[in-house]
């Protein structure tokens, strides 16, 4: 047992740190460190910079052009990016659809789609959730009917994060109504510029259009865009869902944000108030405990063991911590969190802030973070999973 990273791991970390310091645009890092609004361009600029280095698909094996890092290296990469103020990588292409294409796509699909994902050129979206499906993903209703060498797709997806920017979308579609709901689902890649695709942004409680509804009205999709076999899509989707492991805890971001919380608390004069400070101290222990849990998983993965079935635990705890630090930041500013000035969350805004510039996004972030215990399988569903493991 050893808490310290190995010298090799340390030097890997330093290499990544130096590269990120040299390549992460300062304007983007400024926005991330201050929770200001990130544009499509910001996200894609960073993605392309990473893509050029070959690190956008940082979890990819070498065979597909990835760096072939192990679990610890991936974690260190994520940590260094988070620390430096890199925006979270939009996961739909490199983290979500790419592993499915690698595992179940044919060679032609791999050659056609992976390069655009790896370079950050093509913006992918996710088409899983449907109105009313919630955590019951198998209740897919969007139909894809095979007609010759095409599928005709009709239906609606929703909660499509950043779908307004999407160029391609990977969808679960129903190709058969026989058998259990899980059977009869296929995994289809759809060009969002196809006639019949309509995207409508959904405004969330913080005023931002972060997610979208996507309609398919007789959309023609070449049959060659089907991944794997027809009616086997559920298997591929589950593969994808199981792919995310430790990153789901988002502990690296939590560390960065905990430091930001301390800065805000100092600026607002509550860091020396024992009552408020204690709340930060509790969160600090929560973050350390979460990080230890993440490190345990990484250690197990590195040595090929599986010490702990923890994806659900990490999701629950990570999301609770995200909500808590955003809540404490808002409470630190107190009354000065209350003004809602939409433009004040734009970098370089020249208007007069109420209180201080750092106050402007705090309530919005808190509101927005309520999603974290709902999405990606609600925390209630995650507790079902944990209980199943423990109780049978």
């Amino acid at each position: 047992m050893d808490l310290a990273f190995t010298p090799e791991e340390q030097s890997f970390r330093e290499e990544v740190r130096a590269w990120v310091a040299a390549h992460l645009p300062a304007d983007i890092a400024h926005k991330v460190h201050n929770a200001l609004r990130l544009s499509r361009d910001d996200l894609q600029r960073w993605a392309k910079i990473l893509g050029k280095k070959g690190w956008l698909g940082y979890g990819w094996p070498k065979q597909f052009g990835g760096p072939g890092w192990n679990a610890v290296q991936k974690h260190l990469f994520e940590e260094e990016c988070a620390r430096a103020g890199g925006p979270r990588i939009v996961p739909f292409g490199p983290v979500m659809v790419a592993p499915v294409i690698m595992a179940f796509g044919n060679a032609e699909q791999q050659q056609r789609f992976l390069p655009g994902i790896a370079s950050g050129e093509v913006w992918w979206s996710q088409g899983y959730s449907e109105p009313g499906s919630g955590s019951d993903l198998a209740s897919v209703k969007t139909r894809a009917e095979r007609q010759g060498d095409k599928y005709i797709v009709n239906g609606q997806k929703t909660w499509t994060t950043l779908g307004q920017y999407g160029e391609w979308i990977f969808c679960l579609v129903r190709t058969s109504t026989e058998g259990k709901p899980q059977t009869g689902i296929s995994f289809l890649l759809i060009d969002m510029k196809s006639p019949g695709v309509t995207v409508r942004p959904i405004v969330l409680l913080d005023g931002e259009a972060e997610v979208n509804e996507v309609w398919f009205d007789n959309v023609e999709v070449p049959a060659e865009n089907l991944i794997g076999e027809e009616n086997k899509g559920w298997t591929y989707a589950k593969h994808l869902l199981s792919h995310e492991r430790t990153n789901i805890a988002d502990v690296n971001r939590a560390k960065r944000e905990l430091e930001r919380l301390k800065r805000i608390a100092k600026a607002e004069g509550v860091y020396e108030d024992q009552r408020f400070r204690d709340e930060i101290a509790k969160l600090e222990v929560d973050v350390v405990a979460l990080e230890m849990m993440v490190l345990r998983v990484l250690s197990a993965e590195k040595s090929g063991k599986n010490s702990l079935d923890v994806a659900a635990l990490l999701k629950i705890r990570g999301s609770e911590i995200q909500q808590r630090y955003s809540e404490l930041m808002m409470l630190a500013a107190g009354p000065y969190s209350l003004p809602f000035i939409f433009e004040a969350m734009e970098a370089g805004w020249q208007g007069d802030h109420v209180g201080a510039a750092h106050c402007a996004p705090l309530a919005s972030t808190y509101f927005n973070q309520r999603k974290t215990t709902i999405y990606g399988g609600s925390n209630e569903v995650q507790r079902n999973i944990v209980a199943q493991v423990v109780l049978g």
Partner: protein, 371 residues
Amino acid sequence: MDFNFSDDQEQLRDAVRKWVEKGYGFARRREIAATGGFSREAYSEITDLGLGGLYIPEADGGLGMGPVEGMVVMEELGRGIVLEPFGQTLVGSGILSAYAPEEVRAEWLPKIASGEALVVLAHQERAARYHLDMCQAQASATAGGFSLSAHKSIVPAGDHADAFLVPAQLDGRIALFLVARGAAGITTRGYATQDGARGAELTLADTPATLLTREGLAALEHAVDIGIAALCAEAVGVMDMTLAVTVEYMNTRKQFGVAIASFQALRHRVADMKMQLELARSMSYYASLQLNAPAGERRRAMARAKYQLGQSMRFVGQQAVQLHGGIGVTDEYIVSHYFKKLTQLEMTFGDTLHHLGEVSERMQETAGVFA
């Protein structure tokens, strides 16, 4: 010991509820929020119900009613998450009735009663957080009276209000002043607030002001306590509706083929929400019934009430969103608006940790409601 409402109080409740249900639907509220967060017309409709004079003595042309009536009205306005800051009218009219010299009463109270004038409290300063005794605004005597220099923040509907209650330092202690909107040297900068309503920064530069009382801290504490009691009642109204829409949603929404209301873990969450709502309602009664108690008792009661309400609001608001799932975080569906309102109320007049401190400091050997 009696918690029944009188027939008059029930009629008052019915009248306000009717207006909220018929006159202040979600669509109208959304429209007002989109156009700045304050509608003078809507505010006038409230005062047209006769409510402007609720806390104004009959001798001054008001209704001479008390905290229980204030509670009834605020609870109903809360149910409609009404954007117009009627709680401020209770504060403004209550404080002017209690502290203002005769000529000020004669000038302002009838206008407040009729709805012609909206008078709000402008006390928040940047360095003060929730501490009422921290005040940097400066007052000085002038030939004709007094003038103020101050910067006050997050003044409710501050760019629509007709006058402000402003605490400022006078001769080394806090005094309370009235500043009329038209006075020289006033600047207001309005903005939306998180709950969809309106706030403003208020800057006074050598602005003529009328002295209400040199016992400004006591008056400010009194003002805030009127505000807390009103806020508690408003919050109960909001939570009532929050729980109601959550229950309705859970009985409608299906997952895995059954209504989500059938899942025991969620049912227990709802039981906990109901618990928090009833604790909050109990403490809202307590706040209103103690609002006329001597200052020490009154302050202790408000701290206890706001502490309970703060906890309840946070739990009920967060859980309502959670139980709604994805739709709970959309702007389109009403529950997120309840949630944001509850969040804002928690940070108004002192948040939960602040009032824990107040309770802790004011603790006595004895325990209970009558202690």
